[in-house]
C-alpha cells in the first residue's frame, strides 16, 4: 500500500467536479482510495475522520487543492495523481483558442448579460444565502440548488424576493421548469398545460416523467424547497407560485407536491385556492386533508394521472396496476419465494423512498429507514445527508448503492432478503449508465451466491433523456430485474411478493 499526497496551490474546483474525477479514478483495481478536496477546515476534519490526513495534507489552505491517492504501489499513486490533475485542467484546455472569460463578480456578469432575469446557484451552502441575497438585490429571480442553507436565511430571502415580486426556488431545489426550459437535474419533457409546484426533488421528476409518458406536458414546474410549507416559512413561495400559475394562461391544471404541510399553512393554502378557477391536484405523501379545496391524491403517479384526466375533462379512477395481466404473470412466475422474507430498498430519490416506505409499511408492518436496525424491512434514502458527506449524490454516482449492497451481503444481511427494490432516476446531470452499473454488481453478488433475492427497479425518465431509457430498461430486463415506470406500482408489487396475503386485495381492485 502506498499513499501519495499532492497539493495544488491557489486553485479552486467545484466539489462535484472533484468527486466525479475521484470516483472515476477509484474504479481501477490497484487504486484503493482517491480523495480530492479543497483544504478548508471542514474538509481537513473530514480527511482526519477517514484517516487520510498526512503531514503534507495539513499544509493545504482553503484555496489549495489536496489530492491523496492510496494505491498498490508508489508509481501507481504518483501516476494516478497526475491523471487526476490533468483531468481537472483538461476541462479548460480546449477553450484556449476562444476568449471564454468567466466573470468573478455578479456586477461583471451583469455587464455581459445586462437583461439577465434568473440566477442559478449551485455553490456550497455556506455562502449560498449571501450570494442569493446579492442576486435578489439586483432584481434576479433565484434558482437555489444548494442545500445546507439555514432556515432563518431561507425565510428572510423568500420575504425579500416576494417584496420585489421575484421567484425564489429552493433551497435544495434540484429541478425546475420555466417556460419549457429545464433547470438543474431535469428530464427532457414536453411543454404543455400542467403546472407543478414541488419541493422539488425526485418527486417532481417522477410526476413530470409520468405526465410525459401519458402524453401531456408541463407549463412550468416551480421548486419551492422542502421547508416552504412548514409553519416557519409559512408557504411563502408556494402561495406566490400558486398565484402565478393561476394567472398563467398556459396552465390549466396545477399539481402541488409536498410532504404534509403544517396546519396553519393548509388553512392559508385552502383559502387561496378556493378562489381559483384552475383546479389544484395535491399529493401530500399520503396525508389526507379534511377539506375538498384540493383534488387529493395518495401517490405521485395518481397525481399525474389525475391531472391528465382533469385537463382532458375526465375523472380519474385510481387502480393499483395499469397492466394487471403483466402483474399476475409475474406473480405466477415468482410464486412465494420471497414470502415472509426481508425487503431491502436502496433509493437515490428521497421522495420515491418515502413513498415506497409508506406503501410497504401498510402491508408489511414497520419499515426502517436506516441500516442501523438490522433485522426487518428497510427502505433507505441514500441521498440523505448522512450518506452524502464528502461524496457525490447517488443520482450522480450510484456506486454507493452497490457498495451498500455488497456491505450488506458481506455482513450476511442479505441472507434472508427476498426482494431488493431500487430506483434509477435518469435525466440531465444524472449518471449516464446507471443500469450497467447496477447490473454488474448484482451479477457479481449472484455469482458469489450472496444474493438470491428478486430485484425490482423503478426507472424514472423519458425517451428524450440522455441515458436512452429503452436501452437502460433492456439491460435491466436481461439481468432478470423486474422493471416498473411507476414508483407506487413497484412498491405494491414488492408488498405482494413479501406478503402474499395482500395479493388478493390489489389484484381484485385491479380487475
Amino acid at each position: 500500500m502506498a499513499r501519495s499526497t499532492h497539493i495544488l496551490k491557489s486553485s479552486y474546483f467545484d466539489s462535484v467536479v472533484l468527486m466525479r474525477v475521484a470516483s472515476q479514478l477509484k474504479k481501477q483495481d490497484d487504486i484503493s482510495e482517491v480523495a480530492m478536496f479543497m483544504g478548508t477546515e471542514g474538509n481537513h476534519d473530514l480527511l482526519a475522520q477517514v484517516g487520510l490526513t498526512t503531514v503534507k495534507s495539513r499544509e493545504a489552505g482553503p484555496q489549495d487543492l489536496i489530492v491523496i491517492v492510496v494505491a498498490d504501489s508508489e508509481e501507481r499513486a504518483e501516476s494516478t495523481t497526475q491523471d487526476a490533475l490533468s483531468m481537472l485542467t483538461d476541462r479548460n484546455a480546449g477553450q484556449d483558442n476562444e476568449l471564454d472569460y468567466r466573470p468573478r463578480t455578479l456586477d461583471a456578469a451583469l455587464g455581459f448579460l445586462p437583461d439577465a432575469n434568473l440566477a442559478a446557484l449551485s455553490i456550497p451552502g455556506e455562502f449560498a444565502a449571501r450570494e442569493a441575497s446579492k442576486c435578489i438585490d439586483k432584481g434576479l429571480n433565484v434558482f437555489l440548488f444548494s442545500d445546507n442553507v439555514a432556515l432563518a436565511d431561507e425565510i428572510s430571502l423568500k420575504n425579500k424576493a416576494r417584496r420585489k415580486n421575484l421567484l425564489f426556488m429552493g433551497p435544495d431545489c434540484g429541478t425546475a421548469y420555466i417556460n419549457g426550459v429545464g433547470l438543474g437535474f431535469a428530464n427532457i419533457i414536453k411543454s404543455g398545460r400542467i403546472g407543478c409546484i414541488a419541493a422539488s426533488g425526485t418527486g417532481l421528476q417522477a410526476v413530470v416523467c409520468e405526465l410525459d409518458r401519458l402524453g401531456e406536458g408541463v407549463s412550468h414546474a416551480i421548486g419551492v424547497g422542502g421547508r416552504d410549507l412548514s409553519s416557519e416559512v409559512g408557504g411563502l413561495m408556494t402561495t406566490y407560485s400558486l398565484e402565478l400559475l393561476e394567472q398563467d394562461p398556459a396552465t390549466e391544471v396545477i399539481i402541488l407536491l409536498s410532504k404534509p404541510p403544517s396546519a396553519d399553512v393548509v388553512e392559508a393554502l385552502e383559502a387561496l385556492c378556493s378562489e381559483f378557477s384552475t383546479p389544484v391536484v395535491s399529493c401530500f405523501q399520503g396525508a389526507e386533508l379534511p377539506g375538498n379545496t384540493f383534488i387529493q391524491t395518495a401517490t405521485l403517479d395518481e397525481a399525474a394521472a389525475t391531472a391528465v384526466c382533469r385537463v382532458n375533462g375526465r375523472e380519474h379512477v385510481p387502480v393499483p396496476f395499469n397492466l394487471p395481466d403483466r402483474i399476475s404473470d409475474l406473480l405466477e412466475e415468482r410464486g412465494n419465494k420471497a414470502a415472509g422474507k426481508r425487503v431491502v430498498g436502496l433509493f437515490t430519490g428521497g421522495t420515491l423512498a418515502k413513498e415506497a416506505q409508506l406503501l410497504l409499511s401498510k402491508e408489511l408492518g414497520p419499515v426502517a429507514k436506516s441500516f442501523e436496525e438490522h433485522a426487518g424491512h428497510i427502505v433507505v434514502d441514500l441521498g440523505d445527508d448522512q450518506y452524502t458527506i464528502g461524496r457525490p449524490h447517488p443520482m450522480i454516482s450510484p456506486e454507493i448503492r452497490t457498495e451498500k449492497l455488497i456491505e450488506l451481503a458481506e455482513t450476511g444481511d442479505l441472507a434472508d432478503c427476498g426482494v431488493v427494490l431500487v430506483d434509477l432516476v435518469l435525466g440531465k446531470g444524472s449518471h449516464l449508465d446507471p443500469a450497467q452499473e447496477l447490473v454488474e454488481s448484482i451479477e457479481t453478488l449472484r455469482k458469489r451466491r450472496e444474493l438470491s433475492a428478486e430485484i425490482v427497479a423503478v426507472v424514472i425518465g423519458t425517451p428524450e433523456d440522455p441515458q436512452d431509457i429503452a436501452a437502460q430498461i433492456s439491460v435491466l430486463d436481461a439481468a432478470g430485474i423486474t422493471v416498473f415506470r411507476s414508483n407506487s406500482e413497484a412498491a405494491r408489487y414488492v408488498a405482494m411478493l413479501a406478503a402474499p396475503a395482500c395479493r388478493e386485495n390489489y389484484m381484485k381492485e385491479a380487475s
Binding site: 484555496q63 484556449d96 476568449l99 472569460y101 466573470p103 463578480t105 456586477d107 461583471a108
Partner: protein, 412 residues
C-alpha cells in the same frame, strides 16, 4: 456620505483631472521640505537597514552626484549615522520608478493637474541598461546624470516654456489606442511626446544639442514614463482624503515592501512584503538574480493604465510573457475589482470601454483578485540593471489590513 457616494466623488475628481508637463525645476526649489540631506525614495517608508541592493546603489550614486560622499562605504556611514533624511517621495508630491531616488540638486519634471491645482514631480528618465535607478553609480552613469541635469534639463525647460506645457493626458489617451499600456510599453507615447516637443526644441536650441536631446529621448525608449507617473499621481491625489472612500490612490513598492494608500484612510500606508515577479528573463539571468518588486510605477495601474490596459497592448506579452488572450483577460479581471471606467482612456479591443478605474479594497478582498502589475525585473545586485520583465500582484495583505482599518475608522 455613504461609501458608494464617497467613491463616486473620488472617481469624479480623478476623472476630471488633467496632467500637463509644464516645467522642469531643481528639486530643492519645488519639492516640499527638501533639506541639505534629503533623500527621497520609491514606495512606502523604509529604513536603510531594510533597503535592497539596487536602492542602496542608487542612493550611493545620488550621494556621489551631490558631492556628499565618494564611496559606498562613506554613503553607508552617512545613512547609519542618521545624517541622511530618508522619506517616501509620495509624501512630498514626488514619484519615481524603481528605486526612485531624488536628492536636492536633481532636476525634476513639474507636472500640473490644472483642474485641481496640484503639482507633482519626478526626475528625468535615464534610459535602459546600467542606470541610476537600478543602482548603478559608475563614472559613465555619473557623466550621463550630469549631462541630463546640466544640459538636457535646461533645453527641455525652454522647449516646454515655448510649448506652453505638454498635455500628457491627451498623449496617453492616444497612445492607448496605438498599442501602448504606458508602463512597460511606451513606444507610441514616447514617439508622440517627441513629436510634440521637436518643433520647440528646434526653436529654442542649437542644432547639436537638439540632435543629442532628440536622440537621447528616442533611445531612452520610456522617457515619457517619469512624466506620466507624475501626472498619474497628480490625478489620483485629487481623489485622496475623501472620507468614507474605499478607493486606492497609491500603490507603490520599495523593494522590501509593497504599500497602498486608500482615499478614506488619509496618509496611512498598508504594507506587506514585496513579492517576487513571475516573468521572462534576459539571456544569462534567472530568478536567483531577481530583486523583489520595486518602484512607484504601479501608479500607472492605479489610474487604469499598465496591466489594467493590457487588452489594448497585446504586444507587451512579448516582453512579460503570456498570450494575447491573456492580455485581454487581465483587463477583464481588473474590471472586477474597480468601481468605474475611465472616461478618457478607452480601449478599442474592449469595444472602446474605458479602462478599469478606482481599485476598491472591498472588491479586492471579496474576489481575492489583487491588482496585477506589469513590471520590469531588477537585478538584486546594484548596478546591473534590468534583467527581465513580467507580472506580479499587489499582496492581499495590504488590502485586508486596509479593510480592517476602514471598518474601525470611526471607532477611535
Amino acid at each position: 456620505m455613504s461609501i458608494d457616494e464617497a467613491n463616486k466623488t473620488c472617481l469624479q475628481r480623478i476623472q476630471e483631472s488633467t496632467a500637463v508637463w509644464s516645467d522642469i525645476k531643481t528639486a530643492k526649489d519645488v519639492i516640499p521640505g527638501m533639506t541639505q540631506r534629503t533623500v527621497l525614495h520609491a514606495g512606502p517608508p523604509v529604513a536603510w537597514e531594510h533597503m535592497c541592493g539596487p536602492m542602496r546603489g542608487s542612493i550611493t550614486g545620488a550621494c556621489i552626484y551631490e558631492g556628499w560622499a565618494s564611496t559606498p562605504e562613506e554613503v553607508e556611514q552617512l545613512a547609519i549615522s542618521g545624517e541622511l533624511e530618508f522619506d517616501s517621495s509620495h509624501h512630498r508630491n514626488a514619484i519615481g520608478p524603481m528605486s526612485g531616488i531624488i536628492t536636492p540638486s536633481m532636476e525634476v519634471n513639474v507636472v500640473t493637474n490644472t483642474v485641481h491645482g496640484i503639482e507633482t514631480y519626478s526626475t528625468l528618465y535615464m534610459g535602459i541598461g546600467k542606470v541610476l535607478r537600478h543602482g548603478a553609480f559608475d563614472d559613465e552613469v555619473m557623466t550621463k546624470l550630469r549631462w541630463m541635469n546640466k544640459e538636457l534639463a535646461p533645453l527641455l525647460k525652454s522647449a516646454l516654456g515655448r510649448a506652453g506645457g505638454i498635455d500628457l493626458k491627451s498623449i496617453v489617451a492616444q497612445a492607448l489606442q496605438m498599442g501602448d499600456e504606458l508602463h512597460n510599453r511606451n513606444k507610441a507615447s514616447n514617439a508622440l511626446l517627441l513629436t510634440a516637443l521637436v518643433q520647440h526644441l528646434i526653436s529654442v536650441g542649437e542644432k547639436n544639442e537638439v540632435v543629442k536631446a532628440i536622440d537621447f529621448i528616442d533611445k531612452a525608449g520610456h522617457f515619457i514614463l517619469n512624466a506620466v507617473m507624475a501626472g498619474s499621481k497628480g490625478m489620483l491625489d485629487a481623489g485622496s482624503n475623501i472620507e468614507n472612500s474605499t478607493i486606492v490612490t497609491a500603490l507603490a513598492r520599495n523593494g522590501h515592501e509593497t504599500g497602498i494608500r486608500v482615499s478614506g484612510l488619509g496618509d496611512r500606508w498598508f504594507t506587506a512584503p514585496a513579492p517576487m515577479i513571475e516573468g521572462v528573463y534576459f539571456p544569462g539571468f534567472g530568478p536567483e538574480d531577481a530583486n523583489p518588486d520595486m518602484g512607484d510605477s504601479a501608479i500607472t495601474e492605479t489610474i487604469g493604465l499598465g496591466s489594467f490596459a493590457m487588452a489594448g497592448a497585446p504586444a507587451v506579452v512579448e516582453y512579460i510573457g503570456g498570450t494575447a488572450k491573456f492580455a485581454m483577460e487581465t483587463t477583464l479581471k481588473m474590471y472586477e475589482i474597480t468601481v468605474g471606467e475611465h472616461e478618457t482612456f478607452k480601449l478599442p479591443p474592449v469595444n472602446f470601454r474605458g479602462t478599469p478605474l478606482g481599485i476598491d479594497i472591498r472588491k479586492v478582498v471579496e474576489t481575492g483578485i489583487t491588482p496585477v502589475i506589469n513590471t520590469g525585473i531588477a537585478c538584486k545586485r546594484p548596478g546591473v540593471g534590468q534583467i527581465g520583465a513580467g507580472l506580479t500582484a499587489a499582496p492581499m495583505e495590504c488590502f485586508t489590513a486596509a479593510l480592517e482599518a476602514f471598518v474601525l475608522r470611526n471607532k477611535s
